[in-house]
């Protein structure tokens, strides 16, 4: 009842304000609780040591970061705690000016010391602290705080990706004073400067945050509170959306669920779709014969009818796009006409398969048999696994799909015990520095499961980081991609398609290629439609 009155009141106020201003712009409505479904749950509360979207969706609204992606204009980057920034001519010094008067939830004031302490924790974690993204920032040699509102970062070499890297949703700024007391406090406690203060985490059930009245951005957030409800079962999430018990889900739906919701709810929902910065790859272990033979590896990639497969699979799974090592639609990605020239990406599938059979015969592997290690997650791993096994059957290869629980799957792939497996790349942005790590040599990459060493790839990777112009970088990236496809240690199959279906009341939320972005909820509001 109270909520009804308060929302009526806000509505009336909004009407009056609009009347006075004579503006046709629809004002954001204050108030209300956003209830949304999350399909997993964060194990602990420390941004620096988590990597799941489940964490972002629950915890991100409590924190601020130095920079963030500009929600409506991805991949543009904007300031969060930083009001502005400058980069020196030589690309080695980054200077950030912070907003004045930013408050932590406990009332203390944020200074550059907090930013320094947080970044030191990410780049040089002390004993006992786990920092997952340490490697990405190895170019930063120092973080300094010359005065309360200035942060200076010094790099050892120019890095084309540093600004987007600093916009990572994972680099939450913690309180230096609190870290001093207990460097592991963020694991169990939340003290940030974000738009929402934590209210309750009922393990296994839900997460509630409420509006932080002293949030540093004037007038924000619009929501009174948010409630994330943990629902592992896909059917349960879709049913809850259908019944209006939850208004949103921010990871993504299968095409079937999208159709189901549209059929049930019609114009009550907004549907967003775009290529997702996630891809499923075939990873072949070069230590297991005959995958040491590039002809065999390439044959397996050639056998896949990517173009028709993508179309067919897009009806049943959230894979939709054919792409190279970078997300289709991304600025630096290879356009389709060029992509079609690469092995395995030709439009003429019969010709490709003929070539594949010939290569296998040459290698003496005409009746190749192997086990294909997969993850026992139906969407989209199993769908793609079943598809690939069938594709290989058509060149006479007998592959057995072996779906395993995630922990077992990771152990087998990482340990080099799998002959072949369905691998994935899925990071929070398109940046090649993150996306290409999958392909460089095992000793340089923590996520290469193919056990191979290829210095050509390593060198090209390093060169693209240091490239000073976009043209130069694109040329290197093309060369990298061609080498990947020809060697075929690890090749992309399909890129995912992110599909979001939210109730129309949810406003001010922006779609992006990653489910890790745009989830601080500062701009989200509920209309009364």
């Amino acid at each position: 009842m109270l909520r009804f009155f308060s929302s009526m009141l806000t509505l009336m106020c909004a009407a009056v304000v609009m009347g006075i201003m004579g503006s046709s712009v629809i004002a954001q409505t204050r108030g209300g609780e956003l209830v949304f479904a999350v399909s997993a749950e964060p194990p602990n509360y420390d941004c620096h040591r988590n990597s799941s979207f489940a964490f972002v969706h629950s915890v991100r609204p409590h924190y601020s970061t130095l920079l963030k992606f500009d929600a409506p204009n991805y991949p543009a980057v904007t300031g969060d705690l930083a009001e502005s920034w400058t980069i020196s001519e030589d690309g080695l010094t980054y200077t950030f000016k912070l907003h004045d008067g930013v408050k932590f939830h406990d009332g203390s004031t944020l200074t550059s010391a907090d930013v320094k302490a947080s970044y030191d924790r990410i780049i040089n974690p002390q004993e006992g602290i786990v920092s997952l993204r340490q490697g990405a920032y190895s170019d930063i040699v120092s973080v300094e705080a010359p005065d309360d509102l200035t942060v200076v970062m010094k790099l050892k070499a120019p890095n084309s990706a540093m600004i987007p890297l600093l916009a990572s949703p994972w680099n939450c700024i913690y309180s230096a004073a609190k870290l001093e007391e207990n460097p592991r406090y963020p694991e169990t406690e939340i003290l940030g400067t974000g738009a929402f203060v934590p209210v309750e985490h009922a393990a296994g059930s839900h997460w509630i945050g409420k509006r932080f009245d002293d949030y540093f951005q004037e007038g924000k957030p619009y929501l009174d509170s948010y409630r994330a409800i943990y629902m592992r079962s896909t059917a349960a999430r879709v049913n809850a959306l259908h019944a209006g018990e939850v208004l949103a889900e921010f990871r993504g739906h299968s095409p079937a669920d999208r159709d189901k919701l549209i059929a049930a709810l019609g114009d009550k929902v907004n549907v967003y779709e775009q290529p997702w910065a996630c891809v499923l790859n075939i990873s072949l272990n070069v230590e297991k014969e005959p995958f040491d033979d590039p002809r065999v590896r390439r044959a397996l990639s050639l056998a896949i009818d990517r173009w028709n497969g993508a179309e067919a699979l897009s009806k049943i799974a959230f894979v939709r796009q054919v792409g190279g090592v970078l997300r289709p639609g991304y600025d630096l990605a290879t356009p389709n006409e060029e992509l079609e020239q690469l092995p395995g990406f030709g439009r003429d599938i019969e010709a490709s398969r003929e070539e594949a059979r010939r290569l296998l015969e040459e290698a003496g592997q005409s009746d190749l048999k192997f086990t294909f290690t997969n993850r026992n997650i139906s969407m989209p791993y199993e769908a793609v696994g079943v598809f690939l096994v069938d594709q290989w059957r058509q060149i006479g290869v007998d592959a057995v799909n072996d779906p395993l629980p995630t922990s077992e799957y990771l152990a087998k792939l990482r340990g080099g015990n799998a002959e072949a497996g369905l691998d994935f790349v899925c990071d929070f942005m398109d940046e090649p520095n993150l996306q290409l790590l999958k392909y460089i040599s095992t000793d340089n990459s923590s996520i290469n499961y193919g056990q191979y060493t290829d210095r050509t790839l390593d060198e090209l990777f390093e060169r693209q980081i240091r490239a000073r112009t976009k043209e130069e970088r694109v040329a290197i990236l093309r060369e990298f991609e061609k080498h990947v496809m020809e060697q075929a240690y690890n090749v992309p199959t399909f890129w995912w398609q992110r599909i979001i279906v939210n109730w129309k009341q949810v406003k001010g939320w922006y779609m992006s290629p990653s489910h890790h972005l745009n989830q601080d909820l500062t701009d989200v509001w509920l209309s009364s439609e």
Binding site: T234, A235, S254, A256, D257, D259, K260, A263, N308, G309, A312, K315, I316, A317, T371, N376, S378, M379, E382, A383, G385, V386, F387, V389, D390, V400, N401, D402, P403, P405, E408
Partner: protein, 296 residues
């Protein structure tokens, strides 16, 4: 529970036992008919099924039931009817072999426990208690994971072992209590005195006398095994895609489509229910007919 179990056979003279079973247990006979139909479909799946259950057809994904596909197709365009028919093979093989394994091992342990008695009995009983108190899902997971991919002739052996293990203590308990009665019979003592070996006494004199509870438990466990296989596959711990299995048809990517393609979950669910139902019906009647006092 050492209530004395009396084993009585009431077989009248002239009637053939099968005929008699049908007359006395019409429900059981109905169950038997369903089982036989399933066995037939499973054995001759290759000829009965209209399509190859693994054949992907991206041109006809999620088609509703039609003359071409009587029960429609699934998310990969595979014929649902064919997958159900081949699924019968998976269910029956897993059900039959896991029940055979579980009941036989259980019966042997039960007989040995009753025959040797004393300390051995005590130790066996404690081991059985441990197994009984252990949650099936952990057992199943551990067995499946430890044995790895152990497939022989299309049969997932580790799944069979995983399902069989929880049956062992239950069968052992029932068979033991039946065998205890036999062990107290004077002729067993006589055989011992005559110097027959333990193995021979157990094989010749005790085991034939516990066949009734064995058969009853065996039939009942086929049903439970089919259901357990379906539940494990549903939880992602059982049979793996693309094998045709009923529980699997209810889980994974296929279950996503239950609203626009309800045939995809209704038909396999019905198949599981019908199979388990038939085995239970038959097992129940078999028990009533052979020995109403045995509790499964």
């Amino acid at each position: 529970m050492s209530s004395v179990v009396a084993i009585t056979y009431e077989i009248p003279k002239r009637q053939h036992p099968v005929h008699q079973f049908i007359v006395q247990q019409p429900l059981g006979a109905a169950g038997l008919v369903v089982i036989l139909v399933m066995v037939f479909a499973g054995v001759f799946a290759k000829f009965v099924a209209p399509y190859d259950p693994l054949q992907l057809d991206y041109g006809s994904m999620l088609s509703p039931p039609s003359a071409e596909h009587l029960l429609g197709t699934d998310a990969f365009g595979r014929d649902v009817l064919s997958r159900i028919i081949y699924g019968a093979r998976t269910a029956l093989l897993v059900g039959f072999f896991s029940s055979l394994l579980g009941s036989t091992v259980g019966a042997v342990i039960g007989v040995a426990s009753a025959y040797f008695g004393g300390r051995i009995d005590m130790i066996i009983q404690r081991l059985m208690d441990i197994l009984l108190a252990f949650p099936i899902i952990v057992l199943a997971l551990a067995v499946v994971a430890v044995l790895g991919n152990f497939v022989v002739g299309g049969l997932d052996l580790n799944l069979i072992i995983a399902i069989a293990i929880p049956m062992v203590p239950k069968v052992a308990r029932v068979v033991r209590s039946s065998a205890l009665v036999i062990c107290e019979m004077p002729y067993i003592d006589a055989a011992r005195v005559a110097g027959y070996s333990n193995i021979r006494i157990m094989a010749r004199h005790i085991i034939p006398n516990v066949t009734a509870p064995y058969l009853i438990m065996f039939t009942a466990f086929v049903a439970q095994a089919i259901l357990l296989e379906a539940s494990l596959s549903f939880l992602g711990l059982g049979v793996a895609e693309p094998t045709a299995a009923w529980g699997l048809m209810l889980a994974g990517s296929s279950a996503e489509f239950y609203r626009e393609a309800p045939w995809m979950i209704i038909c396999p669910g019905l198949a599981i229910s019908l199979a388990v139902f038939a085995f239970n019906l038959f097992g129940d009647s078999l028990r009533d007919w052979l020995d109403p006092k045995i509790k499964v």
